[in-house]
Amino acid sequence: MAAGFPFATDIGLRLTDIEARGLASEEQTHSNVWATQQNLRQNGATTAEADYIAHGQRVELNELTGPQFIEFVETKLATNGVKKVIPDADTLATAWRRVRLVHQINDLIAALEAENAAEPIPEDLAEQVAAGLIEHPEQPWDDVISDLADDEVAS
């Protein structure tokens, strides 16, 4: 049934799901009922499921309403043991040190922003940007400003 994904756990609609939720089927035709049954059986369908489909019935996921679909997926995830990720102890320790550093850096950025706000802006900035765009037409205006500021900070 998990055609193309043989390594996956199939949580698609089964006949029991259809019956439990009272979902309506729609008609479809198969030119060779026997071959369809065999193919379905080889791909994991039960005999009843293979008969159901081979004899011209199917149920699309769209048959489920929004709340029904969510309930269906949550039930299948829980049944198959899907749980929130918790990394190993080494990874947790690395993450702890890293995130402490991140908070320290963010405090530093805030302090530098306050200091930078008092710095004067070049009076001919618009002319410098226009000149930069003529020299490098593939650049956006903010890259030109970045180059100008980089030169100013370096000097």
């Binding site: 994904f5 698609g12 008609e27 993450a95």
Partner: protein, 228 residues
């Protein structure tokens, strides 16, 4: 005895039935027209669809609480229309979409959050931001941004690539249009699952990605799949 008038009469009487059978031989879908072929006073399909649309929408979207793909609304509307014995013909998805779009354009469904699948992409220069041309992606692009002129803080999110330390399973759905619904109910975050849709086909890239994520490097990954 001259048999010609008898044969001509038989042909005339069975003409409609013959046309129906030939249509069925050409397209299996024509079988669904049998039920209504002898109904003489039929109601236009559009009239019936407009009549059932509010009910179909409320059923599919939990009374408007959830963003809902138009096909889910179609699946609620189809049996409602089919229940009318005087429907002129069975409702198809393409015709339903046409009527739905006209209904929305006429302002009859202003507060309906109807989703359509992506058709193409939009790409910005320099930022390389790419937007899939779906209802939700365009809405997020147009309305989801407020410009922050301050230097962004360094993110505390732990760097990961692939399943390891990030997600527990891949939810592969062969139908499109369910991602927004799953996201609206925070299924990816609540269960740590990645979402993959394949437009009804098993593409090589999708198989390679799912297999790669489920390999020895990410043995905790369980690929799950749901489809029709």
């Amino acid at each position: 005895m001259d048999s010609a008038p008898i044969l001509a009469g038989l042909e005339a009487v069975t003409k409609k039935w013959t046309r129906q059978r030939k249509a069925e031989e050409r397209h299996a879908r024509a079988l669904s027209n049998r039920r209504s072929m002898w109904t003489f006073r039929r109601r236009p399909l559009k009239e019936l669809v407009v009549e059932v649309l509010p009910t179909a929408w409320n059923e599919a979207s939990d009374n408007g609480r959830l963003p809902t793909h138009w096909r889910q609304v179609f699946y609620r509307a189809r049996p409602l229309v089919a229940a009318y014995p005087d429907a002129e013909r069975p409702l198809t998805d393409a015709y339903f979409k046409t009527i739905l779009e006209e209904y929305i354009a006429a302002g009859e469904a202003d507060n309906w959050d109807v989703l359509r699948g992506a058709r193409g992409v939009f790409k910005e220069p320099h930022t390389h931001e790419t937007v899939a041309m779906s209802t939700m992606a365009v809405r997020n692009y147009l309305g989801g941004h407020h410009l922050e002129l301050e230097i962004p803080s360094v993110k505390s999110t732990f760097p990961t690539h692939g399943a390891k330390n990030r997600f527990a399973a891949v939810l592969i759905c062969e139908k499109e249009g369910f991602d927004e619904l799953l996201q609206a109910e925070h299924i990816p975050e609540r269960y740590d699952v990645a979402l993959m849709s394949t437009k009804g086909i098993s593409a090589h890239a999708a198989r390679d990605l799912a297999r790669g994520l489920g390999g020895p490097a990410s043995s905790s990954t369980t690929s799950t799949r749901t489809g029709s």
